[in-house]
């Protein structure tokens, strides 16, 4: 007969309660890991969306996300002519507060050239921008759906399509409009003094600027070689997709990432200690029974089996509860919670290891206990 199972069944209510408690704790740990992963994934979302190989930005900047970058719009034609470049598109990024149904809506507005790289990835609902003015593809997280009308700057846009999970590194929902509309929006929203300068054409930057040019390369072209070519223009810098992703995770969300990372490690440590304590006390409560088992002649493996099996049962049921809980509520978080199977399995492995270590402590105490203690009252 399996003593671990029989003991659990005898005190089922209490055991399940402990499992639920542990499950909640592990659920929180999983949520934190998911929030951490979500932060990194969201930081990369916008940079990955156009599916390109090279970013051309202003010289001496690491734009367009980590640092401000402004380059002339005609750069795109020059880039498109470089050997190895399959397609290039101009792109602008700006954060705008729009008015929608009498509340402020913070949007990350992306301006792109509809026939060139830089547009939204999959359109989930509706269609891509078809006209050159006042159409918008909005991410679902903004709450906007096709046929909605939103005022941006001085113009009213009509939502024609929806994307999913397209947000800026700050978590603001992305919307796509045409490059011309975006440039006009930038002008409309600029401070009045700058606007006057821009209108006269005397400002440091002309009105026909963009934040970056993105380029898609031929399959056998080397991004580094093309980047080298771009850098010969002294006013331009080139960042490969790989380098861009590194900039985003290393510098843009670095503090937030480290903050959450540290907190997650703390939480993990606390959980490990709590699991260990639960299992250890669970064994300590049974010492008299264990002494009796030894007295009547049960071998060590019976006693070890009982402790270890209970620890593993507690750990795995608790973990299953936590994982199920988070999997079922993760979509209700305001920002993305990404549960990657790798991370979930890693946490599962950690829980099992902690359970084994804690039961080793219990086993040590159990093997030390003098069978004669069973005789006491």
């Amino acid at each position: 007969m399996n003593l671990a199972y029989r003991d659990i069944r005898h005190g089922l209510g209490r055991f399940l309660l402990t499992c639920v408690g542990l499950g909640l704790l592990l659920g929180v740990v999983l949520a934190m890991i998911g929030i951490y992963r979500g932060l990194v994934v969201e930081a990369l979302t916008i940079a990955r969306a156009p599916g390109i190989d090279l970013w051309v930005v202003e010289a001496n900047t690491r734009g367009p996300f980590a640092e401000a970058s402004r380059i002339p719009a005609d750069t795109r034609e020059a880039i498109a002519r470089i050997a190895g470049v399959a397609a290039a598109g101009s792109i602008t990024y700006q954060t705008v507060e729009a008015e929608y149904q009498e509340r402020k809506l913070r949007l990350y507005v992306i301006g792109y050239e509809p026939t060139r790289p830089g547009g939204p990835p999959e359109i989930e609902e509706g269609h891509a921008i078809a006209r050159s003015h006042f159409e918008m593809v909005a991410d679902r997280s903004s709450g906007l759906v096709p046929k909605d009308r939103v005022r941006l700057g001085r113009d009213t846009f009509t939502v024609v399509g929806s994307t999913r999970q397209q947000v800026s590194s700050g978590g603001d929902p992305a919307v796509y409009i045409t490059l011309q509309d975006a440039q006009k929006l930038q002008f409309d929203l600029a401070p009045p003094a700058t606007r006057v300068q821009l209108a006269r054409g005397t400002g440091s930057t002309g009105r026909d600027t963009v934040n970056a040019v993105v380029a898609r390369l031929h399959p056998n072209a080397s991004p580094d070689a093309v980047a080298e070519t771009v850098r010969r223009w002294k006013h331009l810098a080139a960042v490969t997709q790989e380098a861009q992703e590194l900039i985003l995770t290393r510098s843009l969300v670095d503090r937030a990432r480290r903050q959450i990372g540290l907190f997650t490690s703390l939480l993990l440590t606390v959980s490990a200690v709590i699991i260990a304590l639960i299992i250890y006390t669970m064994t300590m409560e049974k010492l008299k029974q264990i002494a009796t088992l030894k007295l009547i002649g049960a071998p060590d493996r019976t006693i070890i089996g009982m402790i270890v099996q209970q620890a593993l049962a507690l750990g795995s049921i608790g973990f299953a509860i936590g994982a199920t809980l988070i999997a079922s509520i993760k979509d209700y978080f305001p920002r993305r919670v990404v549960l990657e199977p790798d991370n979930v399995l890693a946490l599962g492995a950690i829980v099992i290891v902690v359970c084994l270590l804690a039961s080793a402590l219990g086993v040590r105490a159990a093997l030390r206990i003098d069978p004669a203690t069973a005789l006491g009252g």
């Binding site: 007969m1 003593l3 029974q289 088992l293 007295l295 002649g297 071998p299 069978p371 004669a372 009252g377």
Partner: protein, 254 residues
């Protein structure tokens, strides 16, 4: 004691067994040169005031306490010489040869009466169905068959104690050690339990050594020994109740 029994080697043979706890000022001599032979079928009582070494002696016979010196044979096998264990795997020896009955029943709270008994059978290698069958048989034998599916918490003190005795008897040990087996029972139940133990000793050819303070059951023992400051004195060989009630004999106990 019959002649037939006298010719068999003793089941328990103790020679000059001593045990002290601590050293120098804190030294307590719990047992001093205890020698004793117990034969199959004998039921032996150990008396003595509190702290006189009764539990210590039972623990050493049960191989759960190391003595300071002396030697011991159990069922013809030398297990201890000059204060050192010479037989390996004492736990297995306990499982096969020794049954323990405690003052408190010490049943596993999470197993029902039958499984508490079946457990020790299974530990000794009996297959689960056979273990249950024999457990039920034993419970019937101890007249608690009707409580076979009860959990220990649902049993009365006397019922629990009888289940515990069934467990102690399960592997047919030849040596049964009982530390105040009837202390938790009323005198009627105590008498029933002692009668059962006598029956076991006779029918199963076992030796029973029981610590007791209970005068009402003295007549159930073949021999009665008194421990005083760690020394073993023979009191009587049955029917010596008159000696026992004499002044100063057992009056010291608390």
């Amino acid at each position: 004691m019959s002649d037939k029994k006298a010719n068999q080697p003793p089941l328990v043979r103790l020679r000059d067994l001593s045990k002290h706890f601590g050293e120098a000022e804190t030294r307590v001599d719990a047992l001093r040169n205890v020698s004793l032979d117990v034969r199959a079928g004998e039921v032996i009582a150990l008396l003595g005031p509190s702290g006189s070494g009764k539990t210590t002696l039972l623990n050493i016979i049960g191989c759960i306490l190391d003595p300071s010196s002396g030697s011991m044979e159990l069922d013809g096998e030398v297990v201890l010489t000059d204060g050192r264990w010479v037989r390996p795997n004492l736990r297995r020896l306990r499982l096969d040869k020794i049954g323990f009955i405690f003052q408190f029943h010490n049943l596993m709270p999470f197993l029902d009466a039958t499984d508490n008994v079946a457990l020790v059978l299974q530990l000794a290698g009996t297959d689960p169905r056979e273990a249950r069958r024999r457990a039920l048989e034993l419970l019937d034998y101890l007249e608690v068959g009707n409580r076979r599916s009860s959990m220990p918490a649902q049993l009365s003190g006397g019922e629990a104690q009888r289940v515990a005795i069934a467990r102690a008897l399960a592997n047919q040990p030849r040596i049964i050690l009982a530390d105040e087996p009837t202390a938790a029972l009323d005198s009627k139940r105590a008498g029933i339990v002692m009668d059962l133990l006598r029956k076991v000793a006779v029918e199963r050819d076992a030796a029973i050594i029981a610590v007791t303070h209970d005068e009402k059951i003295f007549d159930r023992f073949d021999r009665i020994f008194n421990l005083r400051d760690g020394r073993l004195e023979s009191m009587s060989s049955n029917g010596m109740k008159s000696i026992m009630v004499g002044p100063g004999d057992v009056g010291e106990r608390i």
